[in-house]
């Protein structure tokens, strides 16, 4: 467990400090984008394509413009005048802002109506007349790669097919040889369907351009306001937008989970609209456009293979993947690898050889490939390996826990370099699984299952022992359009000893205003109640790359600790001056420097802060401030072991999660209450795609559904009462030994659930089931259909 170094009153690391953000939220006093109102503000609504692939023959705005309240209709032609009808994606592909000649997916933006009210704008959308000529649609990514498939990206010079990229990692020859020499090989096709983060707040923007000052102010649902500002400056520099005159304010954000990392066309249209009309513009998506057009997660078709010895020793891993990216590569993963961190696929096991390849493919679907509450492509990789392990256990007649225990990378092997090139920082995988088994009573469950099976009842136990990789990332491997993935913190100690902390990351519910204060409290011994944390305003916060991929604590958290330590270094000099001793004679305990062996001879950090402005040594600059930009030396590797128990209704195929024990290890913990809350939420977002959520299309590219009627998010009724426990294996390279935790559970939960369901049906010959495990899928498996 994280060692407590401060009192509860100071509230440093390890204390369950109540959240500073809560008083406003529980009173309805949060400030979300849709709460922002500006004088003279107009509203924008978007006309969207009913076709997945079609030529635009004409757009007629006359009737819309005649409607009371409609001020303007913006089309691709309007934007073309400014050369703003296309924009780059964060993956250096290109994406239409508004189309000139054709649409590439159903629900694509076609035109925007600007009006004096939300209601008039919605009416205007109904009145814009668009003539389309449908084109052949490519929906199946496998068909998209067949010779003769229509080439979708005719706009890209030299693009001869629908392949976006081919990426591989590992040693193919060594892997092939290991498979040839192995006693046992298994293979399984696994599809991880397209899903949507569906934060309860949709995306939106209020864009306000002051044409006299040339100042553009944007209140925006952004997980990465600084990076977005730079992208806007780079894309629209030619029309006079200059980075110092762009201010992005990311206010309270109603959930992000990856969906608020991309720059959506709607944002750019709203910016164009404020420049064109001279009025502030508000655009807030309604849920249908959010679900139908915003970036998706996953959509990975994997063929996964594993080779092992008869005794269960795992030897080699091979995975071939087709990744459906939609019509453009607008993924939001900043690694230099097109398939992100898929190299974590070897999981918690020391393979001798492994080879992974991923082909990215264009189809007539919305773009994306964002993370759904996970690091980039980690969930897909973990699903593959944790399913394969269970299939191997089944084939060998071994207990899945025993097989994992036999193979785990041992604690003494860390730092561990995997055959796919990642260097795991620390881990104790057997420790986590052992604790999970004890907590849930694994042996008793096995007995119960045996008895139930004899009675014809379906009960399953599933394990997932996952390894995550988060904290993007080291500058050698990570950037967004060239911007390295450091992060930042700026700390100012005021004369009275109170603190302002500004950070480059952006909370969407993670509680940064609380936890980043706790890091400073830990490092400086100043009560967390005296520390104010700000983020999300690019005019005031230091430059940072934003919050996603569990990177806030690993990167900006490190920056905060480092900036605090810079302050402590200066404080020590001041203390030495005040106490008239040498720096070497001083010791530190949280909140004060004291003379070694004479604890009474001390200066508190508050006294030092006052002196920094009133009585500092000659030759020293006044003030007590520091900034740190932290470039992490490595990623962090949180891990855990989950055990899920399911009961299945054999008549309907309905799966009920009876118990779920999650043992997580995220290194040192800043705030146990917040960590546990994140794990609860992550587990729920792991269960959701495992059992319920999926976005699918018919052959014409029509999306099934566009509301929470069809997109099945779990309620409190479907969600079990999660049980949690933890082990603590600090990260050796992180200044405070923390690893990040927001996404572990989303990564680790799905295979535990699938493994449990497959386990419940294994005596019926079931070896694998695809997610979501709908009642019908399970019923078919039970009935051998």
């Amino acid at each position: 467990m994280t060692e407590l170094k401060t009192s509860a009153e100071i509230g440093g690391m390890g204390h369950s400090v109540k959240r500073k953000e809560d008083p406003r939220f529980i009173r309805g006093r949060g400030n979300y984008v849709d709460d922002v109102v500006r004088p003279g503000m107009l509203y924008m609504a978007i006309v969207r394509s009913p076709y997945a692939h079609a030529k635009i023959l004409s757009i007629n705005s006359e009737k819309a413009l005649a409607h009371p309240g409609v001020a303007a209709v913006i089309t691709g032609e309007t934007l073309k005048e400014y050369n703003l009808h296309w924009m780059p994606t964060l993956m250096s592909d290109t994406q239409m802002v508004l189309p000139i000649d054709k649409v590439m997916y159903q629900a694509q933006e076609v035109a925007a109506v600007i009006a004096t009210s939300r209601y008039a704008a919605a009416d205007g959308v109904e009145l814009v007349e668009v003539e389309y000529e449908p084109l052949e649609v490519v929906i199946d990514p496998f068909k998209a790669l067949e010779p003769g498939a229509p080439v979708l990206r005719t706009d890209k010079e030299g693009q001869k097919d629908n392949r976006i990229f081919h990426w591989e990692a590992g040693d193919k020859a060594a892997t092939d040889k290991a498979f040839k020499d192995a006693d046992v090989t298994i293979s399984q096709d696994i599809y991880i369907p397209r899903i949507h983060v569906a934060s309860i707040e949709t995306c939106g923007i209020v864009a306000e351009f002051d044409s006299v000052e040339g100042q553009l102010t944007l209140w925006m649902t952004s997980q990465a306001p600084h990076a977005h500002r730079t992208v806007f400056a780079m894309v629209a520099g030619h029309v006079g937008l200059s980075e110092e005159k762009i201010r992005i304010i990311s206010p309270d954000i109603g959930g992000g989970f990856g969906g608020k990392v991309p720059i959506y066309p709607g944002y750019v249209i709203a910016i164009a609209a404020t420049v064109v009309t001279g009025s502030p513009i508000k655009w807030v998506e309604h849920r249908r456009e959010n679900l139908q057009a915003d970036s998706f997660g996953r959509d990975y078709h994997m063929h996964a293979e594993l080779a092992a010895d008869k005794d269960g020793t795992m030897k080699a891993l091979r995975i071939k993947t087709i990744a459906d990216h939609g019509y453009t590569d607008a993924a939001t993963q900043p690694s230099k690898w097109p398939a992100g961190l898929f190299a974590i696929a070897t999981g918690s096991y020391p393979f001798e050889a492994a080879f992974c390849e991923v082909d990215g493919v264009y189809t007539n679907k919305p773009p994306g490939g964002i993370a759904y509450r996970c690091s980039f492509r980690v969930t897909e990789a973990v699903h593959a390996i944790e399913r394969l392990v269970d299939i191997l256990a089944d084939d060998l007649g071994m207990d899945p826990a025993e097989l994992r225990m036999k193979n785990f990378i041992p604690p003494e092997a860390f730092p561990y370099k995997s055959v796919l090139g990642l260097e795991y920082d620390s881990g104790n995988y057997a420790g986590a699984l052992k604790l999970a088994m004890e907590k849930i009573g694994y042996q008793d469950l096995l007995k119960e299952q045996k008895e139930k099976r004899e009675r014809g009842e379906l009960m399953g136990i599933g394990i997932s022992s996952f390894t995550e990789v988060v904290g993007a990332g080291p500058s050698k491997d990570f950037d967004i359009l060239g911007l390295k993935m450091f992060d930042s913190a700026e700390i100012r100690i005021h004369p009275t000893g109170k603190v302002l902390v500004r950070i480059g990351v952006q909370s969407q519910g993670q509680g940064h205003e609380t936890t980043f204060g706790q890091i400073v409290a830990e490092e400086l011994g100043i009560p967390v109640s005296d520390i104010k944390v700000e983020h999300g305003d690019t005019d005031t916060a230091p430059y940072g790359l934003g919050t996603y991929a569990s990177r806030s604590t690993p990167v900006a958290g490190a920056a905060t600790a480092m900036a605090s330590r810079k302050i402590r270094d200066k404080a020590k000099k001041i203390a030495a001056y005040l106490l008239e001793v040498s720096e070497d004679d001083l010791d530190w305990e949280p909140g004060k420097f004291f003379v070694k062996g004479v604890p009474d001879k001390a200066k508190t950090i508050q006294e030092i802060a006052f002196a920094a402005y009133t009585n500092h040594p000659q030759g020293m600059e006044a003030g007590l401030e520091a900034v740190s930009y932290y470039d992490p030396p490595n990623m962090t590797f949180p891990f855990g072991s989950y055990i899920c128990v399911v009961d299945i209704d054999s008549g309907t195929g309905q799966v009920k999660i009876r118990r779920f024990m999650a043992v997580d290890d995220c290194g040192n913990i800043i705030n146990p209450m917040i960590v546990e809350g994140q794990i609860h939420g992550g587990l729920t977002m792991g269960m959701a795609p495992a059992l319920m959520e999926e976005i699918s299309y018919d052959e014409e590219g029509n999306i099934y559904g566009g509301s929470f009627m069809e997109y099945l998010m779990p309620t409190a009724m479907e969600t079990p009462n999660w049980e949690t426990a933890k082990t603590c294996t600090p990260s050796p390279h992180h200044p405070i030994g923390a690893k990040g935790v927001g996404e572990s559970a989303t990564v680790g939960a799905p295979p535990a659930i699938v493994n449990a369901v497959v386990d419940a049906l294994s005596h019926l010959g079931v070896r694998h089931l695809e997610i979501p495990l709908t009642p019908e899928k399970v019923w078919r498996a039970i009935n051998g259909l």
């Binding site: 009416d123 109904e126 249908r288 319920m692 009724m717 479907e718 009642p775 019908e776």
Partner: protein, 291 residues
């Protein structure tokens, strides 16, 4: 998601409401709880030029027994049915039904009249009313008329209710002694429309033989489906596991599901069979005095 414009009318008497409907013609819709209509308007799947809000009509909100009938006013909210002690103790099948409609907030506004008049075979009350052999009372320019439940539902979103009529009351014959009923709904998540649901009622004689049975199926046809052959197979026979199994099979055969995101035709038929059996077992237990 913004609805189109409309004129809003809020009559205070039934006569006034019906006169409004007559004068406004096809361009008018009745607004009851609004929990189906307003979402449709927000998607602009419904764009009525006029809304006639009947929530100001007095005396359409009641649950009472009289003259051998349980009568329920059309404006009775689902939440009131869910809460009603009379319903819980004597008509648990209606409690089963109201309890699983949408969610608590929707149940506070949604009305039983609206649930039936909407004519959606995915709604829950229709099958239950089929099983209970209910009648609906509608009021039009020529006064009231009563329509048997089997004549009420004509097709998807189509009922025997005329454009100038308002559904005012649901009448359910008070079941004889030794009767029981149950509604079992299988849904993808709480509050969703059913993959399939089954309403079953039985009346037993002193020897345990079934003398009366009603089976209605939700969301497996263009209207709620009465599983007639299944009912007939039960009548005159004891409710043995075998007989109940036969009824389940016959109900499955009577269902007319269409494959969609909730499941294939084959699966839905299987679900109907399973749920019919479960509903009959529960109805039987209740008829025998159980819960």
């Amino acid at each position: 998601m913004i609805p189109g414009t409309f004129e809003y009318h809020k009559p205070s008497t039934l006569d006034e409401a019906v006169a409004l409907l007559a004068s406004l013609g096809d361009d008018a819709k009745v607004l009851s709880g609004g929990q189906s209509l307003i979402p449709m308007m927000k998607f602009r799947l419904a764009e009525p030029a006029n809304l006639v809000d009947i929530n100001g009509l007095e005396g359409l909100d009641y649950i009472r027994e009289a003259d051998g009938y349980l009568t329920i006013g059309a404006l009775t909210r689902e939440a009131e049915l869910d809460r009603s002690d009379l319903i819980k103790s004597k008509y648990p099948i209606i409690h089963d039904t109201a309890h699983v409609i949408a969610d608590p907030q929707v149940r506070n506004l949604a009305t039983i009249g609206g649930n039936l008049a909407h004519g959606d075979p995915a709604n829950d009350h229709p099958a239950t009313m089929v099983a209970l052999g209910a009648e609906v009372v509608v009021f039009g320019p020529n006064g009231s008329r009563t329509i048997g439940i089997d004549d009420f539902f004509l097709g998807p979103l189509a009922t025997a209710l005329k454009a100038n009529e308002i559904l005012t009351e649901i009448r359910i014959p008070v079941p004889p002694a030794n009767s029981g009923g149950a509604y079992i709904k299988f849904e993808r998540k709480v509050g969703d429309f059913a993959i399939a649901a089954v309403a079953a009622t039985v009346t037993l004689d002193g020897s345990g033989k079934c003398v009366k049975a009603g089976i209605g199926l939700t969301n497996v046809g263009p209207t709620p489906v009465r599983a007639k052959a299944a009912e007939e197979a039960l009548i005159g026979n004891p409710l043995t596991d075998d007989n109940i199994a036969t009824a389940g099979r016959l109900a499955s055969e009577a269902s007319q599901p269409v494959g969609d995101q909730r499941g294939s035709e084959e699966y839905k038929r299987a679900v109907v069979e399973v749920l019919t059996k479960r509903a009959l077992h529960k109805a039987k237990a209740r008829a025998e005095g159980g819960k």
